[in-house]
Amino acid sequence: MRAPAISIKGRAFGDRVLLALVILLSVIMIAPVLWVIGLSLKENAELMANPNSVFQAPYTLKNYINTIGTSSVFVWVFNSIIVSGGLTLGTLILSSLAGYGFARLNFPGRNILFVIVLFGLAVPEQAVLVARHQIFSMLNFHNTYHGLILPGLSASFGVFLMTQYFKAIPKELDEAAMLDNASRFRIFWKVLLPLTVPAQATLGIFTFLGAWNDYLWPLISATKKDMYTLTVGMASTQTNFAQSEGIGFLMAQAVFAGAPILIVYLFFQKYIVTAVSGAAVR
């Protein structure tokens, strides 16, 4: 069973090389973040005089106090919550209904419609961006919450995911309920929907995260400062970089914006990884 001794030695050496490489990569992952946190805790003047001062006290929370004192950050966070929350709720409702419909019910043209919906998965946002923007201009939808929420509701991924999930539930459940004379909607609402909670969680977190991090559409649609989402708002403050409020301030803002999402990730890691991998492979 055992490999010869020489091979074991080689294995140990090989292991050490691999370990060193993994450690190096981990350092590359962490170091920039630690650097940003370090800078966020320093006075700007001190940093400009000597960047190595990051490694020495004194540290200060002044940058964070300034960030919180800047009221626009809260407005942007609020906008992001409304937009991401609205889109998530809408996506869950639409996808559950349509997923049930495609998986369980028959209606004329069902198969061709499902193929068209699947085709939607291949359409990148950029292909519809210009026309969508023009349509929204005509409807006066720019710089509104619904203007930011609506485009995301057309994404097919949720329908695809929920259809798969409903298909995996045994049909005998529906048929039993059907014998009790339950209506279609009642079966959907009372019998099947409670069973789809894991899929709802996956889809919900995935949608929320995607909307929270979206940059291109909010950049084009929300042009007024008080309608910025957090991503667009933060991007707008980093344009002038070093000259502006100081590096420490910008870094505090980055930590302020990034920390909550990282904490959420730590709690819902399993769902997030499942959803992101699922969306990529389809």
């Binding site: 993994v22 992952m29 190595n52 419909g101 940059y215 957090l230 999402i261 990529a280």
Partner: protein
């Protein structure tokens, strides 16, 4: 609209012989009501804009008027526009820089971290964590790494008494800087895709190999790598589709500069349609991007379909 005649079921379930269940699966118009809400948004916000965009690309148009029909005029202008050709080249160059790097590092990490130890779990969490950040935060972090004087890179180079390469302002390095930030941001997904493929390899093959005294390199080459070949192709295609859509990193780190050398197609579309308000031309450029992505998506469909055939 009434009840249609009972049609043969496409997928009859062998167990149910009850007469009631035959009616259940007959096509009925009222069942349409469940998919109607989604189809409404899908049609108005995706299909209509898609067709409208194609129509726009044949017109000279600005924000509020869709002007004159110009036929292929916009496309001809595009292919004579040095800036557009440059942006197509830039996009391909960026894909070439990032996709192989992501696939190889992702595979390496998956191979190393595919074990049931606590350390491996923590490291998996770490390598995926950057993926949940927004492009704004990622670019902010990497600009502060690359920035002269206070940057992390220049500080480290400073310890050794040398000057850091100017990853953002040097024309030959700017795209590489963007690629580094992108790999850092996106490494989690390829790693996770490889990990889930590795976990699907039956364990008994490895046990058989161990009995045959195969060393680790042999096992890797003749068992592991062949088993995940399809996943490798899939990861490459998925990443090509994703990285073709480069926008935020380039816009926020370099604004497409210096000399448009880091300006990708999406940034060209953004500039043309939403800063110069030449909507027809912007639409034409987005159709070209759409075709490029569609080709990659087709390839992905073929790869995943073959996989389904095989099992």
């Amino acid at each position: 609209m009434g009840d249609r005649p009972v049609m043969p079921r496409t997928a009859p379930s062998a167990t149910s012989v009850r007469a009631a269940s035959v009616d259940i699966y007959a096509p009925q118009w009222r069942n349409f009501i469940f998919v109607a809400p989604f189809l409404f948004f899908f049609t108005t916000l995706l299909l209509v804009p898609l067709l409208w965009g194609m129509w726009l690309s044949f017109h000279k148009a600005d924000t509020f008027s869709s002007g004159n029909f110009v036929g292929l005029g916009n496309y001809i202008r595009l292919f004579h526009d040095k800036e557009f050709l440059q942006s197509v080249w830039n996009t391909f160059y960026f894909v070439l820089l990032t996709v192989p790097t992501l696939a190889l590092i992702g595979l390496f990490l998956a191979l190393c971290l595919n074990r049931r130890t606590r350390t491996a779990a923590v490291l998996r969490t770490l390598f995926f964590s950057s993926s949940v950040l927004s492009v704004t935060i990622v670019t902010l972090i990497w600009r502060i790494v690359f920035i002269p004087n206070v940057g992390l890179l220049s500080t480290i180079y400073g310890w050794f008494g040398s000057t850091a390469p100017a990853f953002i302002s040097d024309p030959s390095l700017a795209m590489i800087g963007i690629a580094i930030a992108t790999v850092w941001w996106c490494i989690g997904l390829p790693m996770m895709l490889f990990l889930s493929a590795l976990q699907q390899i039956p364990q008994d093959i490895y046990e058989a190999a161990a009995l045959d005294n195969a060393n680790r390199w042999q096992t890797l080459r003749s068992i592991t790598l062949p088993s995940i070949k399809r996943t490798f192709i899939l990861v490459v295609i998925v990443q090509i589709v994703l990285q073709f859509q480069l926008f935020g990193q380039a816009w926020l780190m370099t604004r497409g500069g210096p000399n448009n050398l880091t300006k990708p197609i999406v940034l060209y579309i953004y500039d043309t349609a939403f800063r110069r308000w030449d909507l027809g031309m912007g639409a034409a450029a987005s159709e070209i991007l759409f075709i490029l992505i569609l080709i990659a998506a087709m390839a992905q469909y073929l790869v995943t379909r073959n996989k389904a055939d095989r099992t």
